[in-house]
């Protein structure tokens, strides 16, 4: 069921219409992600990194260029591409296990297979014992673990993560970063994580992509050769962080004053995203 997880992004461009005028959010983005690679994308607000993730997820199909996963063009969402949002987006009327199981609604598994898979993935994210809890009883970190379990329950070839730890406290974030690495190693799948946190991007990624805003494009790519498990205090990682940070800073300072004018409407456009992303049922 799980594909290879080889993701190919070919000159992808995307524009929103803001007050009738087109606003370029992504400008010919090219990216190739190897099977099993952990790729992190870091960028300032409004650089289109979340939009790129939504295009890969198939939630937004109006764009130029191609997104290809294992030789198949992305034209709609697929169970082979999991997505974890910044907010857990659990349904409050369902328990943790029911929320995770919802991901399997169209997986074509038997009831027994489903409940086994749900239990396995709840165990994978360390939530065993909380499967019957309702989301409002969970802490932010636990809710995000449940969301990760839901994103993984179909055993997708690629897991996309859109600033998944952005709203967590520092300690919980560090713990979940380590958990995510462990899960990535255990599942052997491709992961694409979008973040605005340079430290997170360097600590987690095999490769770090820096995106620039106005319009969103790839500014630089860094390899992270450090073997895992990694030590957060490793000076080589710290040096790389500095380089990534420098590249990130230069993306917002090189064009002035235009970038501010351009990045604000981009933010406004992002606010409309949920409306545009799905077809009205």
């Amino acid at each position: 069921m799980a594909g290879q997880g080889h993701l190919q992004i070919d000159s992808v461009s995307k524009a929103f219409r803001v007050n009738g005028a087109p606003l370029n959010v992504l400008d010919s983005v090219d990216l190739s992600v190897a099977p099993g690679e952990f790729l992190t994308i870091v960028g300032a607000s409004g650089c289109g990194k979340s939009t790129l993730l939504r295009l890969i997820a198939g939630l937004d199909t109006e764009f130029a260029g191609n997104v290809v996963l294992d030789g198949k063009r992305v034209i709609e969402p697929s169970l082979d591409r999991g997505l974890v949002f910044q907010e857990p987006r659990l349904f409050p009327w369902l328990t943790v296990a029911q929320n995770v199981a919802l991901g399997l609604l169209n997986a074509g598994l038997s009831k027994a297979q489903k409940s086994r898979s749900v239990a396995e993935h709840i165990a994978l994210v360390g939530l065993t014992g909380f499967q019957d809890a309702y989301p409002h009883l969970l802490s932010g970190g636990m809710a995000q673990r449940a969301a990760i379990a839901r994103g993984l329950v179909n055993r997708p070839g690629v897991l996309l993560l859109d600033e998944p730890f952005g709203s967590l406290d520092a300690l919980t974030r560090a713990r979940l970063q380590d958990e995510l690495q462990r899960i990535w190693a255990a599942e052997g799948i491709t992961m694409l994580l979008v973040t605005h946190d340079v430290e997170e991007a360097v600590y987690l990624g095999d490769r770090v992509v820096v995106m620039a805003p106005g319009p969103g494009r790839i500014a630089a790519t860094f390899d992270v050769p450090q073997p895992r498990p990694r030590d957060r205090a490793n000076p080589a990682l710290a040096r790389l962080q500095d380089r990534v940070m420098a590249a990130l800073v230069s993306t917002t300072s090189e064009q002035s004053p235009a970038p501010h004018a351009a990045s604000r409407p981009a933010l406004a456009a992002r606010a409309f995203l949920p409306e545009q992303g799905f077809r009205p049922i």
């Binding site: 169970l79 987006r89 349904f91 919802l102 169209n106 809890a133 009883l137 799905f278």
Partner: protein, 261 residues
């Protein structure tokens, strides 16, 4: 400091089950006192004892059960028809803006004509038999149920729908698993409004065109100047309406039991 603390605490421990009957008891006492001292003529305000006697009398003769049963049946039939239609139309418009474009203007015009305004026309159309009552009650329930269902479905966060899209939910799965559960509170608000409107419409239509039912008892009591009978009918209408509303609240709480967990 200490005093403030104690007085603040004195408010808290009274359970609602004790607070709720306070006003009714005070009203009843006021009513008794008023009747005893003849503040209002007994032809206008009979004493609680007389009303109670009338109630018992009607209960013994079977008038009470007969008339209440007829009214209840009308409300149940009309409310069921009106709320099912309202749910269907509300869901249809909520899910499809196109349907809303087609139907909403006519619906709004239809809803703006008060329920009572429909009675003369409906009388000409279906006569003054049972269909008239059920139609009038159905109309009264239909409007608030439709509007609240529509608003509730529109208010379902797009974020939730997106999760459904991600897992390739069909329209039906999205409705069943995401949209309806998320819209339970507003839908029940509509149903409870609908039920209240249904009762109002029942009494109105029975006042105008019926020879049985609780509304009819009201008219009859007034015409014969049997005010004890009239007030007994009012009491029963209030109690039955209150009970139905409680039942709706219990069903809603059952559907939302995750809130308690």
């Amino acid at each position: 400091m200490r005093v403030a603390k104690i007085s603040a605490r004195a408010w808290l421990p009274i359970p609602p089950a004790i607070i709720a009957p306070l006003f009714p008891i005070v009203l009843l006492a006021l009513w008794s006192v008023s009747a005893r001292f003849g503040w209002l003529p007994p032809q206008i305000l009979p004493s609680p004892g007389e009303v109670w006697a009338a109630l018992l009398d009607m209960a013994h003769s079977g008038d009470l059960a007969g008339n209440a049963g007829i009214s209840l049946l009308r409300v149940v039939e009309g409310f069921a028809a009106g709320s099912v239609l309202g749910l269907l139309l509300g869901v249809a418009m909520g899910l499809s803006p196109k349907t809303e474009d087609y139907v909403k203007p006519l619906f709004t015009a239809f809803a703006q004509v008060p329920t009572l305004g429909w009675i003369p026309f409906l009388m000409l159309l279906v006569g003054i038999g049972e269909p008239l009552k059920v139609l009038v009650i159905a109309k009264a329930a239909f409007v608030p149920v439709t509007l609240n269902t529509l608003a509730g479905i529109r208010a379902v966060p797009p974020m939730y729908r997106e999760v459904g899209a991600l897992f390739r939910f069909s329209r039906w799965q999205l409705l069943r698993k995401v949209v309806l559960p998320a819209a339970v509170p507003p839908i029940f608000t509509g149903l409870r409004y609908g039920l209240t409107h249904a009762w109002n419409a029942l009494v109105a239509v029975e006042l105008l065109a019926s020879a049985e039912g609780l509304g009819y008892l009201l008219v009859w009591g007034r015409q014969m100047f049997w005010l004890d009978t009239m007030m007994a009918a009012m009491l029963i209408i209030g109690i039955v309406g209150f009970t139905l509303d409680r039942i709706m609240a219990a069903v809603e709480a059952r559907l939302q039991r995750w809130r308690l967990a």
